[in-house]
Symmetry: C2
Subunit: 327 residues, 2 copies
């Protein structure tokens, strides 16, 4: 492990070590559930805790392991656990040991109400709607889902173009937890310089709501020091499937801070903590490295750690992501 | 020729018959230049006239013919003549007789100052900038160019995806008349239902300016009765290469009118006429069919005719396209 430029600061002590694409949500009892990519990319793990702090040291349960061959046998990436239409599902990406870049989104379903103890079953690949001839034809991953006014939506990353490819983010309404209801709509492409470093990438969508608005963070550029978080927003009353109803921020909202020792922050999720006075504070869970001089392919360097940061809100109702608010 | 549902109205008398993708511009002396796709898709023609009316019957000169084989030997489509950086150029799309869907944008240059009488030379394929790994990799055509505040921009259609493809519109700044200065930026994709009939298409961009705003019309869906014209706009002071600085209209601004006998209007350009009182009126030149029951591939049906329509402006400064204003 090469940590030539490792710098210890009060802000870059990992929340959970060697867990990338960290995803945290709360169940109906307010308990925290955690899942993430593990460095070997070979299984899906869950942790549960009464408190956010408790996730750090709570026991980790493997709820699913990759297949030996065929689909879902390689690159088990970025699981997210969601309660959709009243039941627990995990969305994750995987490829085939014989076709390791054939990433597609897959779904697991919990047969009971307790995701830690009840059995999980495979639902296969996420299905596009019958009229959709385009979705999941190519490298596609990082599916997240959210509900708005009784409708469920999925957002995912998918690559287009010939040769070197461009990763865009797409949105569609969901018919069920495992099938889309509408054809894909292109939500955001790598438009700006800071989204085009190394690779042209928009991926890792995460949803947070505030004062009647829906915000979507996403990660841009290659997964190195240039990896950064961008932001889209829309009123919850607006037309969610109209990409032109969303506003895209011109600049990233979170990026590398060498002084803080937070390198390549991205692929975040959102949760809340309950303060002593009973109020709820928004928290972003994201991953970053403590160094950027990596030997070999950064994808197989295990030290993307999960961090957490309080999200503040400015007077315009926009989120503030500031590494000083790591805790 | 099948004209089962041909309906003669005062509005669907062609301005110029059997000329698709009509392009009209005015030279420095105010004369009109006309070019278009011819039904055989085998040559590039020019007409010139002192008046717009005069284009209808003016002599047509073939200024370039397709090659026998190799690039530029098939599907000579949608030429546009522009004075760029002070000289005359023609942008057109073409494929190869041995690879007939390998459409790419090509450029011709007029060696003198008179496009009707001076010699034209080939400049080869339009070149992307050196850092751009994406443009013109796939089916790409319908390049138009425009100037704003001393900078030249190109907009073109290019397809992405595997199998059935999606045609988007891209924009880049130009370094010269034949080479781009910046990598591509995705300007608009087929987002709405009316852009996705038959094929998911945005193509045929056309630029018109009014009161400090730049408007881009484009054509959407398959080239049948569903073909329709959409609209984007931006302030001329805004960041032209930022797609989020453009506003996209939710609905088409021009579409089929069966009663008027105007079917599948699209792929337009803009010019002006000088009224008797000396004022200038904006005019859109577009193509349409008079019937929709076509035998065989619509692409090889010769009866897309050029029409012309006065463009009115509403109190918000937005263009009005109304077939009642055909003349």
């Amino acid at each position: 492990m090469n940590q030539l430029n490792y710098k210890k600061t009060q802000y870059n002590e990992p929340f959970i070590s060697q867990r990338a694409d960290p995803y945290v949500t709360r169940d109906d009892e307010g308990r925290y559930l955690f899942t993430a990519s593990v460095p070997a990319y070979d299984e899906i793990i869950l942790r549960r805790s009464e408190t956010l702090d408790g996730l750090k040291d709570s026991a980790e349960k493997t709820i699913w392991k990759k297949h030996d061959k065929g689909i879902m046998s390689q690159h088990i990436w970025a699981p997210e656990i969601h309660k959709v239409f009243g039941e627990w599902y995990i969305y994750f990406a995987a490829s085939d040991v014989d076709d390791i870049w054939a990433l597609r989104p897959y779904v697991l379903h919990c047969k009971g109400s307790d995701p830690m103890t009840d059995e999980w079953e495979e639902c296969g690949q996420m299905q596009r709607c019958d009229e959709d001839e385009f979705s999941f034809n190519d490298f596609s991953l990082d599916m997240t889902v959210f509900e708005n006014k009784g409708h469920w939506y999925a957002i995912w990353a998918e690559k287009v173009n010939i040769g070197k490819k461009i990763s865009n983010l797409y949105i569609a309404e969901m018919e069920s937890a495992t099938k889309l209801k509408t054809p894909q709509t292109l939500l955001t492409a790598p438009d700006f310089d800071w989204e085009r470093i190394g690779f042209w990438v928009n991926e890792g969508p995460g949803i947070i709501r505030h004062n009647g608005k829906i915000f979507m963070t996403y990660s841009a550029s290659s997964t190195g020091v240039c990896y950064a978080v961008g932001l889209l927003s829309i009123s919850e009353d607006d037309e969610i499937l109209n990409p032109h109803a969303w506003t895209k921020s011109r600049l990233p909202v979170l990026s590398t801070d060498m002084n803080m020792g937070i390198l390549g922050p991205g692929h975040n999720s959102f949760t809340t903590i309950t303060e002593n006075d009973g109020s709820e504070t928004d928290v972003v869970i994201y991953h970053a490295r403590q160094y950027d001089e990596i030997e070999g392919d950064p994808l197989y360097d295990p030290n993307r750690h999960a961090y957490r940061m309080k999200v503040l809100w400015d007077k315009y109702g926009c989120p503030i992501f500031d590494i000083h608010n790591n805790f």
